[in-house]
Amino acid sequence: MNPTIRSDYLDFLRRYWPNVQSEAQNWLNQLRINAFDHVNAQRLPTRRDEDWRFTDISPLTQLTYSPAKPEYNLQASDLTHWQLKEAKNRLVFVDGHYAEHLSVIDNSLQLVIGNLPDFASTHREMLEAQLGCHATSDCNVFTALNTAFLHDGAVIIVPKNTVVEEPVHILFIATQSEVTGYPRCLVLGEAGSQITLIEDHVALTQSAYVTNSVTEIDLADNASVKHIRIQRDNALAFHMASCAVSLARASNYQSISISLGAQISRYNLGIRLMGEAAECAVSGLALIGDRQLADTHTCIDHSKPNGISHQQHRCIVDDSAHAVFNGKIIVRPYAQRTNSAQSSRNLLLSKTAQIDTKPQLEIFANDVKCAHGATVGQLDPDEIFYLKSRGLPDLVARDLLTYAFGAEIIQRIPVASLKQRLEQAILCRTQRQS
């Protein structure tokens, strides 16, 4: 790849950076300035970088997409398709900008929830200690860009021992073409709190755009978060995303991430189990076709004893699409009695589909239980025979099993209306026969 193109791309983005140096030296501006310095110190990754070995982002580097400006032409009726009846709170961001008139905030729940700038002074101490501290700018240029261009963002603080039954829906809608949006989320679960979040990336435009999204989640002792992430961008979009999660003692993080859209998508999920007996369950599904590329990189880092991590990642790849999964598990020397299991299962539906899967275990403790496995293949002939022996035609049997392979992950979503809609979406994508 031509290095000048790379630097041109970053140069182009840099030109649009709102120079905040001249403005008030508040903490948010300082954060942006530091991140911008990190952008300047880095280059775009290429396939020569180990972490990007299978993912060629050169089509992205040829784009000159300026940051999206706020546009609020949408009506609430435009959102009906994505509304979830279970969610009492809905934060809506249009091209990364907060849309107050589309958002719904239920004040009866004991939640601090809203747009980042509204809390910058009222919750300064808390936010300053967390924002940009989990997803740092020093080793990922996309994260650095997101923080450098930081403006709006979803902030959710679940107070101590508060159990929020109703899920919170954070809806990011892309509407403008040929722009870059910078969605951002910060979720703080105080001790003993519980919440379910749906981070939902959707599109109302048919043309290309770039989403560069960052989510940070901090869980205090015994806190619990269920994080459902749906990426259903349009087929021309580029989706670069990072999520960084820090877990204190006996906290519990459950992630279900579904990747369906985008021309090129990359999701980095980093989970650090920093307290004893912390636990995480990570489920992922990428269902892609045509010439899509979906790359999921996860890192689960056990640094304290008695941690538990369960991971199951699945890819269904059709046509000439390409799925990548890199799942790193680190068990540090002090993290004795860690129990970790990882499985990567992949289904290839066409001869030209491609999958690269790489489990990566780095274990430095001696008293641990770690299991991992990866399979790439076609459908199980015994399962096909079972269905055919009940009269189902070959193609119907195959389609049903393909659906089941994906639906098994979807069925873990604890929000019925979302689950149903996604099941339907998976059904449509896997039924080639009828």
Partner: protein, 264 residues
């Protein structure tokens, strides 16, 4: 029940089959008429489960000689799904788990496929729900069976009941029950056997593939066949199963040798 002049459902002649070039079935002859229950007994490795799979068209097995005629049609020409639609049913020894597909979804799909083949009306989810719940009573199954994924997390007994539920729904002409009693406690065995007895009638036929005589106390066969080395070496009435129970399979071996010795 043995009915005089009833029609032939299945006719197997000189059937030989192999897997990966190894011959397992070495010339099987069997005639089954409507109304009849046949037990096929034999030790592990005698070829009885292979016979069941070859009848239903499992692609691992290659038929090298012989013929199978099912209601007058050449069964060997049909792929497994068409055999099923023609009225052949296999209750699996080890039913397959399909996580992600709700049992009711699977059962309705199978039912409607066969209904369409028979030119009968398909059922929508609500109609099917009423229909299947009625059938489930026969097997004393809890309603939550419908919402769970196909066989996933089912106990051995639950899986077997689910197989017989499929038999009840699909109403096959010939049912092959492969080791129906394995993994069943005595109560579950009684429920499953009662259901099978309820489903057998003068127009259909059943093959029980089993290692032990126990099942035959509950589902009484009209004929008992003993398989050995890929052949049916002995055929008798229900009393043959009892004889096997007391004398063991070794007795068949000796007995058979003396018979063939006498012929020679």
């Amino acid at each position: 029940m043995i009915i005089e002049n009833s029609k032939t459902i299945l006719s197997v002649q000189g059937l030989c089959a192999s897997i990966n070039g190894i011959e397992i079935l070495k010339g099987i002859d069997l005639i089954i008429k409507s109304g009849e229950i046949h037990a096929i007994m034999g030790l592990n490795g005698s070829g009885k489960s292979t016979f069941a799979k070859v009848l239903t068209g499992h692609s691992d097995y290659e038929v090298t000689a012989g013929s199978i005629t099912f209601e007058g049609n050449n069964l060997l020409e049909l792929p497994p799904e068409e055999r099923a639609r023609a009225g052949l049913f296999l209750a699996f020894q080890y039913p397959i788990e399909i996580p992600g597909v709700a049992n009711t979804q699977f059962l309705r799909l199978a039912y409607n496929t066969i209904q369409a083949q028979r030119g009968k009306e398909e059922l929508d989810p609500l109609e099917f729900d009423d229909f299947v719940r009625e059938k489930m009573k026969l097997l004393e199954m809890k309603p939550d069976f419908l919402d769970r994924s196909v066989n996933e997390g089912f106990s051995g007994g639950e899986k077997k009941r689910n197989e017989i539920l499929q038999m009840a729904i699909l109403e096959p002409t010939l049912s092959i029950l492969d080791e129906m009693d394995s993994g069943l406690d005595i109560d579950a065995l009684r429920i499953v056997a009662n259901a099978v007895n309820h489903l057998t009638n003068k127009d259909n036929a059943t093959i029980l593939v089993t290692h032990y005589q126990r099942l035959l106390d509950y589902i009484v066969p009209d004929y008992v066949h003993v398989m050995q080395g890929g052949r049916i070496v002995m055929t008798g009435g229900k009393e043959l199963a009892l004889e096997l129970e007391t004398r063991g399979y070794d007795w068949v071996q000796t007995n058979r040798q003396s018979i063939s010795g006498a012929i020679a």
